[in-house]
Structures are given as structure tokens and as C-alpha cells.
């Protein structure tokens, strides 16, 4: 089948690529996907990569906390009263605040002398677990509702948008505190820390989906106007196909970006709840919980310093990484 000669012009490489590469090779060149391009961009962003590495380290630390603590720490809840002066309830160590001691890397916690290092490490588990799963929940709810609202429009959109406004109007923190305060001790066949973690995930996740939904809805609305959706429709595609095959792949990037940026918010949220005393129950170590204890012992600043630093570093790492990810996946915002 011959088409007009100048119609079958040999393909030229697009603008921005060295022509030699395409000209020389007629063999199939594996095209680089947008993901690969984003990754290349991300790799160049040193701050984001640092954030990413810290995140990976944190996750590893959280996973292997028991092993690490086994090597350099103690059981996070065990007392080391010998390290404390019983009358003043201050560490007796000659090291400043008992920290940087080979026995207690970050010092000990008043009044019982619990090892701060071990508790910070174990705190990472709770913080990250809650932040990740709560984010996941928000993302699932938010993305689903956002896509539905954006794609279907009409009544569904109206309803979901109102629900979004509603959740954005809620004084979430207080509401979460109030709710966490009245949580029963046993429910859904769970109890103790497990139940509280599950419920915290639920509360944090459930009250944060509005923002995600708003973004996804906006993205969906603008994607819906793109002609490839019309193209798919003009081929006879059903809504389900369009949602799954056309819209969703394009939503992955914004969802990913905002999920990464939601994680630090959730870490702060959980810390805030624990700080206010409605998070995980003692003695299980959490950063926020440690901080709220540390308030009473502000003259021993190490106690306040380490968990605060842990929160800061974690949140900063996620923010750095999220910013970088946004720049990489969505170069417009640069």
C-alpha cells in the first residue's frame, strides 16, 4: 500500500533530542516513559533525593527497630532507675543530660530512666505506620470520590463537593481529639494499642480526604476536557474504561504528589493528638506522647529535643521529597 511519497516522510526525532540518535538507528528504541523522565529529574534534585534517602532510612529504622534497639538500646518501656536521682528526678549521668553516653545514646527519660533512643525508634514505627495508613485511607476515599465527582458531574459532583466543603469546614483537630477521647476500649474485635492505632488511622484518614478529593476532582475535571477522553468516547468506550484506562493513569502523578505531601501533615497530626494525650496509650512510645511528657521536664531539654528532632526530620524529609516529586512529575509548577 503506497501512500503519497512525501506523506511517508521518515520520522524525525522531536525537538530537543539529538538528531543523530534517531537517524542512525532504525531499530526500535525503547521510548522513555514519563515516569522514567520524572525519575531522571528527581535524581538531579539533591534535596529531594536526600529527603528520599532519609525516608527510606526511617522506614528501615521503623521496621528493624527491635533489632537496632537490641544492639544499642533497651526495651523501650523498661526502667533504669539507677540512672536517675530519686529526689530531683534528674539523670545522674556525667554526660550532659545523660545523652551521648555509650549506654544511653540519647539519654534517659525522667522519672524512670527509660532509654530515649529506644523510645524514639519505637515511636517511628507508630508515627510512620499511622501516617502511611491514614494517608492511604485519605487517598483511597479522596481519589475515589474526587474522580467520581469530577467525572460524573451533576448530582454526584454536587453531593461530593458539598461533603468536601463539609469536611474542610470541620475543626478537624478538635473533632479528632473529641472522638479519640470517647473511643471505647474494645471494638471490632480489637483492643489496646491495635484498636487505637486502627481508630487513629481511621480518624486521621477519614478527616483528611477532602483536600485530596478536591485536587483529584479538579484534575479530573480538567482531564475530562482533554480531547483524548473525547477520542476514547468517540471510539465507543464505556465510562468504566475511560475512568480506568484514560483518567486514572493521568491521576497517578497528582495523587502520588499529594499523598507524599499528606504524609508529613499526618505525622504532625498524629503527633498533635498524642501531644494532647488522646493518641496511643502509654507506655507505648510515640513522639507526640514523649513531647507531652517532656513539657513537664523542660529543664531537661534532651527529653524534648530528641522526639522533636525526630518529628522535624521526618516531616522535613517527606516535605523535601514531596516538593521534589511535585517538581519532577509536574514541571509546570517549577
Amino acid at each position: 500500500m503506497v501512500v503519497g511519497p512525501d506523506a511517508s516522510i521518515s520520522d524525525q526525532v522531536p525537538v530537543g533530542e539529538p538528531p543523530a540518535e534517531a537517524e542512525g538507528s532504525q531499530k526500535a528504541i525503547e521510548g522513555r516513559s514519563l515516569g522514567q523522565i520524572a525519575w531522571r529529574r528527581l535524581k538531579r534534585d539533591k534535596a529531594a533525593m536526600a529527603g528520599g534517602i532519609v525516608i527510606i532510612l526511617l522506614i528501615l529504622i521503623a521496621i528493624f527497630a527491635p533489632l537496632i534497639v537490641h544492639a544499642w538500646g533497651y526495651d523501650p518501656n523498661s526502667f533504669h532507675q539507677e540512672t536517675m536521682d530519686p529526689a530531683t528526678q534528674a539523670p545522674t549521668s556525667t554526660f550532659p543530660f545523660g545523652a551521648f553516653d555509650s549506654k544511653h545514646l540519647m539519654g534517659v527519660e525522667p522519672p524512670f530512666g527509660r532509654d530515649i533512643f529506644s523510645r524514639v525508634l519505637y515511636g517511628a514505627r507508630i508515627s510512620l505506620l499511622i501516617a502511611f495508613l491514614a494517608t492511604l485511607l485519605s487517598v483511597v476515599i479522596g481519589a475515589t470520590l474526587g474522580v467520581i465527582a469530577g467525572y460524573l458531574g451533576g448530582w454526584a459532583d454536587w453531593l461530593i463537593s458539598r461533603a468536601m466543603d463539609l469536611f474542610l469546614a470541620f475543626p478537624i483537630l478538635v473533632f479528632a481529639i473529641a472522638l479519640a477521647g470517647v473511643i471505647p476500649d474494645k471494638a471490632f474485635g480489637l483492643s489496646g494499642d491495635t484498636l487505637r492505632i486502627v481508630l487513629l488511622i481511621f480518624i486521621i484518614g477519614f478527616f483528611n480526604w477532602g483536600y485530596m478529593a478536591r485536587i483529584v476532582r479538579g484534575q479530573t475535571l480538567s482531564l475530562r476536557e482533554r480531547e483524548f477522553v473525547d477520542a476514547s468516547r468517540s471510539l465507543g468506550a464505556r465510562s468504566g474504561y475511560i475512568l480506568r484506562k484514560e483518567l486514572l493513569p493521568n491521576l497517578v502523578a497528582p495523587i502520588l504528589i499529594y499523598a507524599t505531601l499528606l504524609i508529613p501533615t499526618n505525622i504532625l497530626f498524629e503527633a498533635g493528638l498524642s501531644f494532647l494525650g488522646v493518641g496511643i496509650r502509654p507506655p507505648t512510645a510515640t513522639w507526640g506522647g514523649m513531647l507531652s511528657e517532656a513539657v513537664r521536664y523542660y529543664t531537661m531539654p534532651h527529653f524534648m529535643f530528641w522526639p522533636g528532632l525526630a518529628i522535624f526530620v521526618t516531616v522535613l524529609a517527606f516535605n523535601l521529597f514531596g516538593d521534589g516529586l511535585r517538581d519532577a512529575l509536574d514541571p509546570k509548577t517549577r
Binding site: R162, D165, L166, L168, A169, F170, P171, L173, V174, F175, I177, A178, L179, G181, V182, I183, P184, D185, A187, P264, L268, A271, G272, F275, L276, V278, G288, L291, A294, V295, Y298, P301, M304, G308, I311, F312, V315, L316, N319, L320, D323, T333
Partner: protein, 338 residues
């Protein structure tokens, strides 16, 4: 515009009703999941010498034995017509309209209590807002103009750090350093109303302002920078330069003016949220504001207070939303409200 505002007000009221319904529902249901009965809930209000009959009377008088919707309706109605409670105490208790609830633990209607604390929260919110607007926006603008410079990098680094700091930690650290350590500022707790002594007022709020403003300045610096970079790349900036305008005019009149519009929106919402209670800041600095009120109410398990608070602060957010939309239309002539 008027029609728009009316419609939005309508929507705002509806939102509040739904918020209150959900809140009510949760506080109605959760204690019951935990095994509470009308009597056990009433028993907290009747004092230690009450017998079963008195408890039952109280449960009835407070309506705790009624079905959910009836109770909700009673609560809602009270906002408009007030409400009488019986069974608790020898005489019926009257909560005058607008009754957002009556606290039997504090023995007073909720709304006046909240209103009483509003000045503290408002002082905190507005004071901090002014600081963070000045600092955040000017840093953002400078950063955007000197994009890539040392200043930009440093400012954005600090800003990123700023948004990553938990406010209660910053608050504590600054308390320890400036208040307990150096005695430069008051640690909060003892709030002096502005009308009593403006100097004392400012002094007592200095640290909370700075702490709160630090967080928000950081966020606003980032926002402003992004907004400025975007608007400074717009075609109309090029036009302004092509007209031969001075760079300062270009930046302020053309660039900043447009960049600030979305920031004004966020600003409105942030202030709205803060007015509804800066929970963490207020509890860190023990400021007797609305947020602290809420925490105290939660700690004492005083549900009418919590309900009242939730509605009150949701109201602020909803109204802030409305104001922002209207203001937006005023700032940006392209926005037509219909």
C-alpha cells in the same frame, strides 16, 4: 451578587446543620457504643446523693432517653427559641436563645462562655496573622525576585524547615528559652484584655504570636514565592515592562497584586480556622481561648461544650469561606458571582 450571597448563606447554614448533625450523631452514638445508657449519661449531672429515681428524672428532663432525631431536634430548636432543662437541680434550668447547649458541669450556657473567650483567640489569630502576612509575603516576594540567589535558597530552606516543625514543639522550645529561661516574654496563661492594658495584652501574646506566625510565615513565604514566580512569568508582566514602567511598579502593582489574590483566599480560610480555635497553640501557651476551651471541655467530657464549640468554629470556617469568595470577586474583576 446579592442573590449569590443569599444562596451561599443558605448553603452555609445547611453546611452547619449537617456538621451539627454529624457531630451530634457522633457524640450521641459513641458513648452508647461504649455502653452508656440514658441513665448513666444523666448520672454525671445529678450529684452524689441522687437515687435512681432522680437519675431517671434527670435523664428524662435532659431528653437523654429520647430517640436520636428528637434529641437533635431539641438541640437545634434551642438555638432559636432557647430551652428549659428539668430534672437536674431543684429548679428548671433555662438556656436562653440562641442556646448552643448548656453545660451541666460548668452550670452555664455554652455560647456566652465561648463568646467570652473569643477575644483571646481573636487577638491571637489576628495578631499572628499580621505578623505572618508581613513576614511571609515579603520574604516570598523577595525570594521570587531574587530567585536562585543565596537569599532565596536560605529563605526557602528556612521556610521548609518552618513548615516541618510541629507548632507545639516550637512553642515549647520558645517557651523554655524566652519565657522560662530569659524571662523576656510571658508564658501565656494570664491573658490581659486589650481594653484593660494594650501593652500587657501585646506582651502576653508576644510569644504565641511569634510561634504561630513562624509556622504560617513559612507556609506563606512558600506560597507567595510560587505565586510571584507564576505571575511574574505572565504575559501582562512583559507588557508592563514593554510600556517602560519602573520595575518597582511592575513588581508591586502588576505582579504582587495578582499573586496576592490566591493568597488572600488562603489567608481568609486560615484566619477562619484559627478563629475557630488554635487548639495546639492555645494549649501549648495555656491561653484561655476557644481552642483551650474545647480541649478542656473534651478533658472534662463536657459534651454540650464540645458540640457548641464544633458548631461555633465550623461557623467561622463557613463564614470565612463566604467572605473569601465575595472578596475574591471584589479583587478580581473577572470573577462574577451569580
Amino acid at each position: 451578587m446579592v442573590a449569590y450571597i443569599i444562596r451561599r448563606l443558605f448553603g452555609a447554614v445547611l453546611t452547619l446543620v449537617v456538621v451539627s448533625m454529624i457531630t451530634f450523631g457522633i457524640f450521641y452514638l459513641v458513648p452508647r457504643w461504649a455502653g452508656g445508657t440514658a441513665e448513666s449519661l444523666a448520672s454525671r449531672y445529678v450529684g452524689r446523693t441522687a437515687n435512681a429515681q432522680q437519675v431517671a428524672d434527670a435523664a428524662h428532663g435532659l431528653g437523654l432517653d429520647k430517640p436520636f432525631f428528637v434529641q437533635y431536634w431539641d438541640w437545634l430548636q434551642a438555638i432559636f427559641v432557647g430551652r428549659d432543662f428539668t430534672g437536674v437541680g431543684p429548679a428548671p434550668v433555662h438556656c436562653p436563645a440562641p442556646c448552643l447547649g448548656y453545660s451541666f458541669i460548668g452550670r452555664n450556657p455554652v455560647l456566652p462562655d465561648i463568646l467570652d473567650r473569643l477575644p483571646v483567640t481573636a487577638s491571637l489569630a489576628f495578631g499572628a496573622a499580621i505578623i505572618w502576612l508581613i513576614f511571609g509575603v515579603s520574604t516570598g516576594v523577595l525570594s521570587a525576585l531574587k530567585r536562585g540567589s543565596i537569599f532565596d535558597r536560605a529563605a526557602m530552606g528556612v521556610a521548609l524547615g518552618g513548615v516541618s516543625l510541629p507548632i507545639f514543639w516550637t512553642g515549647l522550645v520558645s517557651l523554655v528559652i524566652f519565657s522560662y529561661g530569659l524571662h523576656w516574654t510571658k508564658p501565656g496563661g494570664a491573658y490581659t484584655p486589650i481594653e484593660v492594658n494594650p501593652g500587657e495584652w501585646a506582651y502576653s501574646l508576644l510569644l504565641p504570636w511569634i510561634t504561630l506566625a513562624l509556622l504560617f510565615s513559612a507556609a506563606y513565604a512558600r506560597l507567595t514565592r510560587a505565586g510571584m514566580l507564576e505571575t511574574m512569568g505572565e504575559d501582562y508582566i512583559r507588557t508592563a515592562r514593554a510600556k517602560g514602567l519602573r520595575e518597582r511598579t511592575v513588581v508591586t502593582k502588576h505582579g504582587l497584586r495578582a499573586a496576592l489574590t490566591p493568597i488572600a483566599t488562603i489567608f481568609g480560610l486560615d484566619v477562619g480556622l484559627l478563629l475557630g480555635g488554635a487548639v495546639l497553640t492555645e494549649s501549648t501557651f495555656s491561653l484561655p481561648g476557644i481552642g483551650k476551651y474545647a480541649i478542656d471541655a473534651i478533658n472534662t467530657n463536657d459534651m454540650p461544650k464540645v458540640m457548641g464549640f464544633v458548631i461555633f468554629s465550623a461557623g467561622f470556617v463557613v463564614i470565612a469561606n463566604l467572605i473569601v469568595d465575595v472578596v475574591y470577586a471584589v479583587i478580581d474583576p473577572r470573577v462574577r458571582l451569580a
